[in-house]
């Protein structure tokens, strides 16, 4: 096909493939862990870190990642101290990091580059270095989740008993949160906030009501992600419409149609 003659569409496809894997794993985890909005929350919270980096003139990406990881690490602490649900610290960081950013930037007179565009990546503008980094991260996340699969399942299912049986719940959850955070920052930077949140939530939410087997649902989610990305790319080319938005709409249409299909269990 003519569309795949360009090297940037080829890179988009490869990135799409890797991001499908990352977002499916993270998406299923977040939904079962009832932290659906982690992705929207974190991708906005990054802004605080960016503005610190920008003001201090140090590497923005690095500052943002360090800032985000610190925020993420504080989540279990806050939950422990306040007994609030996990999503609440995320919700607080969502607004307070943006406010922090706005406040810091207000000290900078003159033009400030739109820091949000840091996260306005586009699947069409993936670089080769990005691909390598993403590949490494995909391998890392795959290895981690495969190796700790049953531990993670135990913790999600019954945290208290998991702890009683000697699992180091705190440490493991911190690892998962860290990987989740990096995954969100990475994919947002690569394909933008909207597309990244969409790929994390929508295909996983489409698959979950149908497939009552977690391992199978990982594969199904990855496939759905890939199909959305692939057909989104093609549609956007032939109808000359924005690629990211088209991919999101394809995934949404899959989700909406799935509502009308009979589920295995109905009561």
């Amino acid at each position: 096909m003519e569309i795949f003659a360009y090297s940037f569409t080829q890179r988009a496809l490869i990135a799409g493939f890797l991001i499908s894997i990352i977002s499916s794993i993270i998406g299923l985890y977040l939904i079962y862990r009832r932290m659906t909005f982690m992705s929207a929350g974190i991708s906005h919270a990054v802004f605080g870190g960016l503005s610190i980096g920008y003001l201090l003139g140090i590497n923005m990406t690095l500052t943002a990642i360090v800032f985000t990881i610190l925020l993420i690490w504080s989540i279990p602490y806050i939950v422990k101290r306040s007994k609030l649900q996990q999503e609440i610290p995320v919700g607080i960081f969502y607004s307070s990091s943006m406010a922090l950013g706005a406040l810091l930037l207000s000290f900078h007179k003159g033009y400030t580059t739109d820091l949000f565009s840091f996260l306005f990546g586009s699947i069409l503008s993936v670089k080769e270095e990005d691909l390598i980094l993403t590949l490494l991260f995909t391998i890392g996340i795959l290895v981690f989740f495969i190796k700790n699969y049953w531990k993670i399942i135990f913790i999600i299912f019954d945290k208290e008993t998991a702890e009683a049986s000697g699992l180091n719940v705190y440490k493991l959850e911190r690892w998962i949160l860290t990987l989740t955070g990096i995954a969100i920052v990475l994919t947002s930077k690569l394909v933008g906030i909207i597309l990244s949140s969409a790929l994390i939530i929508i295909p996983a939410a489409t698959v979950i009501p149908f497939i009552k087997d977690i391992k199978k649902s990982v594969f199904a989610t990855i496939s759905l992600n890939l199909i959305s990305i692939f057909s989104g790319l093609i549609f956007s080319y032939y109808f000359n419409i924005p690629t990211g938005a088209t991919i999101v709409m394809v995934a949404t249409i899959f989700f909406l149609s799935s509502l009308f299909i009979k589920k295995p269990t109905n009561h």
Binding site: M98, L105, K109, G110, T112, L124
Partner: protein
């Protein structure tokens, strides 16, 4: 614990209502939304009016926040001059909320297009100056002659600028360009600069796959060496195009913080010249 607090709050609210709104001196204060309009206004009103520019440094929808300082300037102002359309919708909102006498330039300019970057066309800048002149003279008729003198002087300067631009750019045969955002739309039209394409056609529009491939094709076939963007824009799409084509990205500033209007235009003309020089080699 809540009852005393509520009382406290109610008393505070009462106090606020009782304090009479101290009438603030609104004599000869003009607030303008963006710096170039401020500069043009300055040419008309001279030192008779104090001009304050409202534009906050970051107007991302997620972050846009006027400081109380800006609101104070606005509150003090007798007139608020606003460009209109998309660039300073926020200022329009602020001015409306303060119930100010607002002058929205786009309402008076006879332009049917949506693009709001009129001020970058020197000939339209004349119209802008004229609109401002009419407004200040109607408010302050006693100094009408002074304003008129200033307006004429400004118009003359613009004519010179116009000639200068035509002269500077006429030496190039091939004046083709690709720009990211259509901020110099009217300027390019005025001086017969052929825009092969705008990558982004308006706020919030992600360039499509087809668009990007067209741009790449254009750059390759027309031997385009530069893409123009605004200094505050930072989009990965340009990186993609750059990677495919080795095109260079240059900044052209449409706003000019603390810059004189004529300087701003000349600066940009200089950049254009360099681009054309390279592309005509």
């Amino acid at each position: 614990m809540n009852k005393p607090k509520i009382k406290l709050i109610l008393t505070l609210l009462l106090i606020i209502f009782i304090i009479p709104s101290t009438s603030l001196s609104q004599e000869r204060n003009i607030a303008v939304s963006i710096p170039p309009i401020g500069s043009i206004t300055k040419y008309i009103v001279g030192d008779l009016w104090k001009i304050s520019v409202l534009l906050p440094s970051n107007t991302n929808p997620h972050l846009f926040e006027p400081t109380p300082q800006i609101m104070k300037e606005l509150e003090k102002a007798k007139i608020v001059v606003i460009n209109g359309k998309d660039v300073d919708l926020w200022a329009k909102k602020l001015a409306d909320s303060a119930q100010k006498d607002t002058l929205v330039l786009s309402d008076y300019l006879k332009i049917k297009e949506e693009n709001p970057h009129f001020w970058l066309d020197p000939i339209l800048a004349k119209d802008i100056a004229n609109i401002i002149y009419k407004k200040v003279s109607s408010i302050d008729p006693s100094n009408k002659n002074y304003y008129l003198k200033n307006l004429n002087k400004f118009n003359k300067q613009i004519d010179e600028l116009n000639k200068y631009i035509i002269k500077e750019l006429s030496i190039f045969k091939n004046k083709e360009i690709i720009a990211y955002h259509p901020s110099f739309y009217y300027f390019f039209k005025r001086y017969n600069i052929k825009v092969l394409s705008y990558i982004e056609e308006g706020e919030g529009k992600e360039p499509s796959l087809k668009k990007i491939s067209e741009i790449i094709r254009l750059i390759k076939s027309k031997n385009i060496k530069y893409i123009i963007k605004e200094p505050f824009i930072n989009t990965p799409t340009l990186g993609t195009i750059q990677k495919e084509t080795k095109v260079k990205i240059v900044d052209m500033d449409p706003i000019g913080y603390n810059k004189d209007y004529f300087e701003l235009i000349k600066e940009n003309v200089k950049i254009l010249k360099e681009i054309f020089y390279e592309q005509n080699r």
